[in-house]
Amino acid sequence: MTTTAERPARGGSVGKGAPARNGATQSKRMRRKAILVGWSFILPNFVGFALFTLIPVIAALVLAFMNWDSYNAPTWAGVGNFTRMLGDENFWIALQNTFLYALGHVPLTLAIALGLALLLNQKLRGIAFFRVAIFFPYITSLVAVAIVWNMLFNPTTGPVNQFLHLIGIADAPGWTASTTWALPAVIITSVWRDMGYYMVLYLAGLQAIPQEYYEAAEMDGAGRWHKFWNVTVPCLRPTTFFVLVMLSVSSFKVFDLIIVMTQGGPGRATTVLSQLIYQDGIVQGQFGYSSAISLVLFLIVLVITVFQFKLQQRRER
């Protein structure tokens, strides 16, 4: 790559007449110019990025170790917020719900997205229409989605339970009205919404697999199942890794779907960590304590990402 910084340096070495010292100062000047021009491009975005993302990220880290409500001046708390968390029942319930949500959402979405991608990776007239239609739920407004599913899940007269009665299930679940079934209801809705997005990622992965691999496997007499396990699955590994990371990160961040669908209820059955951060921090003004919870959320996401990354590296070796 030739850049403004390198070009004059090269020019200096070609011009043999120029004294070495002169070339050095010229190159320094061009270097400074490259810095100036480079920063001038980045600056408009960087000012906003630094003020509203970078500084808050760092501030959150510090706030987690402070006592600060909206009225009194902040004081140093050390690990006080974290020991308080250990005894906070709300925190443990939210943590458990967040994990349960992820345990349902991640494998289900991954499996269904892969299945859809395999099914829709065919040369067939009009296949693009099917792909686009299945992708559509992902970009529809979450509020509308949550409202519709809430009605579909109506325990007595909703279409979901009417269908369950029809196929002979007498005691259909109470879904969003029941403490046991509210979380599964949220998970079903989120899987339905997200599967199209991950299907697109898998389709891109599938189409990057060279056809020759399949032809070679066929020559070795491999059947469909064999080809799937020995060609498709290994070739999709980078995609699966990426999908897994994205899915788990988004699962731990879940908030708006739950706020609109169940508001964390009934009781605390669907309260998740993000909601607790919002509740304690923005509603009640406990800035320090809620920042500590958000640090825990960040660490969970980080550990899961690093763990999956290590796993991926070991498999590649």
């Binding site: 975005n45 906003g48 990025f49 239609a133 299945i134 509020v143 990622l201 923005i282």
Partner: protein
């Protein structure tokens, strides 16, 4: 509707090739997908696909059909898929019950302003990150990438405190400032710019263009597909955003359509048909934008996903 039947396979390939031009040959050879040979197999496959399509789209079908019913028919037993009588007045009543036009206007305003700023500053910064080499550049880019991985919830408290201190809560400013300078836009555009050969900008430089000229006259016109992807993704994300307006906007006259709709359910939870009509209205702009630009959505996701 002709855009819908255009083959997505090619678009995905274009995206894959764009992300990794060196593998273009491989990608195009692998384009095939599976061939479906027998006529019987094809008919079976179409049946499976149509059943699947209906299952996936049932919530939308139900939403649309309910929006034309009377309230007491929405949750009837058995389910009525076709309204016995079309209550068109739902679609006029909803505008009177809540200031829906105002909500839609607010959503449109925020989405347009944030999208413009994001695309402009994002593509400008991406040029600095991909075409100019200077000390500290890569470290800075790493800071951008790192914050993409940090969940937004982790720093929403300091953001809120900042906005509160400068008195910008309950104004559009807070949302515009928080959302217009996202790292994602810079990342997406940079990914695309790195696939544009440097020889092009070098040739332009020899012709006497400076870096700003190269950005405006060479790089920007070449990156139209990526710009479209970023613009559409940002627009839809802002339009659908619930968290931001939920936290920052408390006055009814500032509410976006998402917040307005949510509050309507809170107040009139039994007016099912009206709620459904409002939901349909809130989705229509997204549907139109999606139908016009669906290939850019999918390209954008494939490019940013497949980190080249």
């Amino acid at each position: 509707m002709s855009t819908l039947t255009s083959d997505l396979t090619q678009e995905l390939d274009a995206a894959a090739a764009g992300a990794a031009p060196t593998r273009r040959g491989r990608a195009s050879r692998g384009r095939g997908g599976r061939q479906v040979r027998s006529r019987f197999g094809r008919a079976g496959l179409y049946t499976v696909l149509i059943v699947l399509l209906v299952v996936v789209l049932i919530p939308f079908i139900w939403m649309l059909s309910s929006s034309f019913k009377h309230d007491n028919q929405v949750l009837s037993v058995p389910v009525q898929w076709w309204p016995s009588e079309f209550v068109w007045s739902n679609y006029s009543d909803i505008w009177k019950q809540i200031p829906l036009a105002g909500y839609l206007g607010n959503s449109a305003f925020l989405s347009v302003v944030i999208t413009l700023l994001q695309v402009l500053t994002g593509s400008f910064a991406a040029y600095g990150f991909s075409k100019i080499r200077f000390p500290g550049r890569d470290a800075l880019f790493l800071a951008y990438i790192a914050t993409i991985a940090v969940p937004w919830q982790a720093y929403m408290i300091p953001q809120y405190i900042m906005m509160q201190k400068v008195g910008l809560t309950n104004t559009f400013w807070s949302l515009i400032l928080l959302q217009a300078f996202g790292a994602f836009g810079v990342f997406l555009m940079r990914q695309y710019y790195t696939t544009i050969p440097d020889e092009l900008s070098e040739a332009a430089r020899i012709d006497g263009l400076n870096d700003y000229g190269i950005w405006a006259r060479i790089i920007l016109p070449l990156s139209k597909p990526a710009l479209a992807s970023l613009a559409l993704l940002t627009f839809v994300n802002t339009w659908n955003d619930y968290m931001g307006p939920f936290i920052y906007l408390s006055s009814n006259n500032l509410w976006t359509v998402q917040i307005g709709l949510r509050s309507f359910i809170g107040q009139y939870s039994a007016q099912y048909a009206l709620i459904m009509a409002g939901s349909v209205v809130s989705i229509i702009p997204i549907l139109l934008i999606f139908l016009l630009g669906q290939r850019y959505f999918i390209q954008g996701i494939a490019t940013s996903g497949m980190k080249g």
